[in-house]
Structure formats: C-alpha cells, structure tokens
Symmetry: C2
C-alpha cells in the first residue's frame, strides 16, 4: 500500500532532505523510522529537496509499506520512532502511482528576516538578520515582477536536462511585528537555490543596492552571475505542497 | 565603572542563569566573555535566576569593568566573544551601587503553549504542546484571581528566610494564530518555579481538570501540594525587567 504523509522538520541538524552517503538527512531519518516499524527497508519519496539547514512545516512524502492498522496509528508509530526535530503531521492512503514530486502542482516557501543591530539568539536558526533597514515599497515593486511564467535562470539552476522556465504564482512580503518580515513565494516548481537567491536579491533592492529597474533587467538577462549570492538557509521553510485533488 | 546590560539567550543548552561548578550556565558564559575582553576576572549580577531551559529576551545584568571606549563598542566586543545562543542587546553606564536584582521593580515573563495532536519540531524548544484543548474563558477567570498582593506559597517557594508575599500586576492570556497561546505575567518578584507552576495549574483549569472556584481555593490555601507540577521550562521566557528610572 502506498501512503502519503505530511512532514514537519527543523532542518538545523540535517544536510538537507535528500539521502547522502555519510551525512544525516531527513530522508534517511524517515526511512530509518519506517524500517523500524515495518521491519523491512522502505524508500521515501519527497516533494522537494530542501537544502541543509532549511526547515519544513508541510513537506509531502510517499512510501510503500504493509500496515494492517489505522493511518493514525501509523502516524503515531512513526512519531515515536523519529527524532524530536522531525514529526509526521498526517498520514493518508494514496493511489499506487502517487508521486509527491511529479504530482505536485505547486510549492509554497516562506523566508523570515528581521532588521536589528544585534543578532537575536532565539531566532538564530529561524530567520536571517539584516543590520540595514529595508524599503518595503521598493521590495513590493520588485517582487511583483517575479509573478508569471518565465525563464528564471538568473535565480537558479534547473536539474540536469531540464529548462529553467517556471511559473511563479505569488511573491508577497509581509511586515511582521518587531522589524520582521516574511517573504512568501508560491510557484509550480523552483530551480536549485531559487528562493534563497531571489530573497537575497530582493534584499539588495530593499537596502538600496539595486534599483527596481535593475532588478527587472537582471530577471530578463537570464544570467546567474547578476543575482546576489543565496540568502542563508536557516531563514527558509517549505510550508505547503499542493496537489490536483485540492490538497 | 559599573555597567548595566540587557541580555537575550536561548536557554536550551544551559543549566540555568546562575553559575554552577560543573555545568554550563549563562552567567559563566557572560563572565568568560567579560574576562576575555578585560583580561581580568569579572563577576556578573543578574535580575533573575532563570531555570535550566528557560529563555530570555530582556534579562538585565550588571558588572564592574574598566573600559575606555564607547558602550556600543563594549556591546560589540562582548557579542563577538559570546556563543551564538547568547547576545548583549544593549550596554549602558550605571551608578556604582546599581544592582539588577535588588533595584528591579518588576519582572515580566511569557509562557508559550499550543494545542496540537502532534508535536511541532520547530517549536520543540520554545513552547509547551498540549493535546487537549483549552477553555480560554475559564482560564481568563482564574488568571485574574492572581492579580494583587498575597501569599503565593501554593505556587512556589521563597528564597531561604524570605516570606512568600508577592504582588502580581498582570496575568493575561493572549490567543495567537494556530491554536497557540501566550501567557504574560508581571509581578514585583516571583517565587522559585512560580510562573511554571501557575501556568500548569491554569492549564488544568482550561482543560476542565480544576474549576475556577477550586483554583481560587488552592490559591488561598497556601499549600504547594495542591498546585500542578511545574510546566516544562522550554516554554518560558523572561522578557522584561523594570527599574525605578522607568527603564
């Protein structure tokens, strides 16, 4: 039976989602918990390969396992065997051909930032600290230029053999209390490091180091070297993956 | 010269604020950083002895050190020598007899909770997870009974030789998004484990395991055994300490 599950994790201790030979990964931790409760090797598929240090509140995975009990019991058994920084929020039965990566229609990421003269120890693994203030009006103007279907080569690399055309549905900056900001971006799919590179380049705009016009120019230029280096991973969270059945 | 500083820390890795012989503490980390930059042993005084795992965004400390430069340089030098989970937010000059504990007029603590069927990995060191919902109206009714000057023996022990009379100025529960709650309590001073014991007992009221009338009864009874065991430390943060000069 194929199951689909929603997973939350604190990415701080992991070298990203995808399994690697000699490093702790979220995928390996999930596969280990599944192997423990099913007494057989289980392969986990994920919706997105989050980088080292990136978090998730709504990563979607799928796996095949024999389980004779309720899906809520499977969720509880997995949580009892997972480390404290990973949790299964929900498990449901899926069709035998369900694939969390190929069937996903869109992904939503959030990037958290704050402006402060001194680092906040309680946010050190959750948000990017900026010391220079942001002009949020300029950021709004640049962010809306991202919406639409276009070649995003300026902001990231596609997997081998794919093109760099993606459709961004939303790119929204919210002002939070305490000089904090949350950047929410939704697209059908993202290029490698695209969210972090877009975030850091929009911060350049907000700090007056790039005009809105120049941002539009580099977006059109399709040259990776024109964008900022990627923002640090710890501010980023994969929050939602959407599928054709409306979930 | 005596200096006064505001300190933020993630208490997860520490055995509390106060120095101990064989355990990492916030006080020891601060004294080590001060010794490094001043090349002499320095003793730090704090406003409150937060327990192991308890956080702070506004702990106030004082120390004597010779420093020939601006207070902002002292702040930056300290932050450069402190671990990532402790930061000095501000340093200012203080009078030679300033004492952050004896001169403090009030302390404010916040306790964060959320109700969810599964633990949230991103809140595991920041908030207490409850699986049973809270009736916030009952909690409000019980919490207001705490306000005033009374003997709080039911909820904690005083330091050796002191009485248990304290003045609670505010005890307020805020409903946050995502089935989350923040309990804010302000008093002139607190007994040992008082905030965590009050929090856990109010949760009993909110979950229907104690009536508001029974809560008033145990508050009047001055018997520690009648209250709930203390709530876990990781939900608690010392947010503000107030002094006679209005700061």
């Amino acid at each position: 039976m194929r199951y689909r599950a929603t997973v939350a994790y604190d990415g701080t201790a992991y070298r990203g989602f995808q399994r690697q030979t000699h490093a702790p990964t979220v995928q390996a931790a999930l596969e280990q918990a599944l192997a423990l409760i099913s007494r057989q090797p289980v392969r986990v598929m994920g919706s997105g390969r989050t980088d080292a240090g990136v978090h998730a509140t709504g990563q979607v995975i799928a796996f095949d396992v024999s389980w004779g009990h309720a899906t809520s019991d499977l969720r509880n058994a997995l949580n009892a065997n997972l480390p404290e920084d990973i949790a299964i929020l929900e498990v449901r039965e899926a069709s035998a051909d369900f694939h969390p990566r190929y069937d996903a229609l869109s992904r939503c990421y959030e990037y958290r930032l704050y402006v402060a003269p001194v680092r906040d120890p309680l946010l050190r693994e959750r948000a990017w600290r900026l010391s220079k203030p942001l002009n949020i009006e300029d950021i709004h103007q640049a962010a809306v230029c991202l919406v639409g279907t276009r070649d995003f080569s300026t902001f990231g690399s596609p997997p081998h053999g794919e093109n760099a055309v993606r459709t961004v549905h939303q790119a929204l900056w919210r002002v939070d209390p305490g000089n904090s900001y949350t950047f929410t971006i939704i697209a059908n799919a993202f290029l490698y490091r695209m969210v972090r590179t877009v975030t850091a380049t929009l911060v350049m705009v907000g700090q007056g180091d790039m005009t809105v016009g120049a941002f539009q120019g580099i977006l059109a230029a399709r040259q990776r070297a024109l964008a900022a280096p990627p923002a640090p991973p710890h501010g980023l969270t994969l929050t939602t993956v959407c599928f054709a059945d409306g979930t």
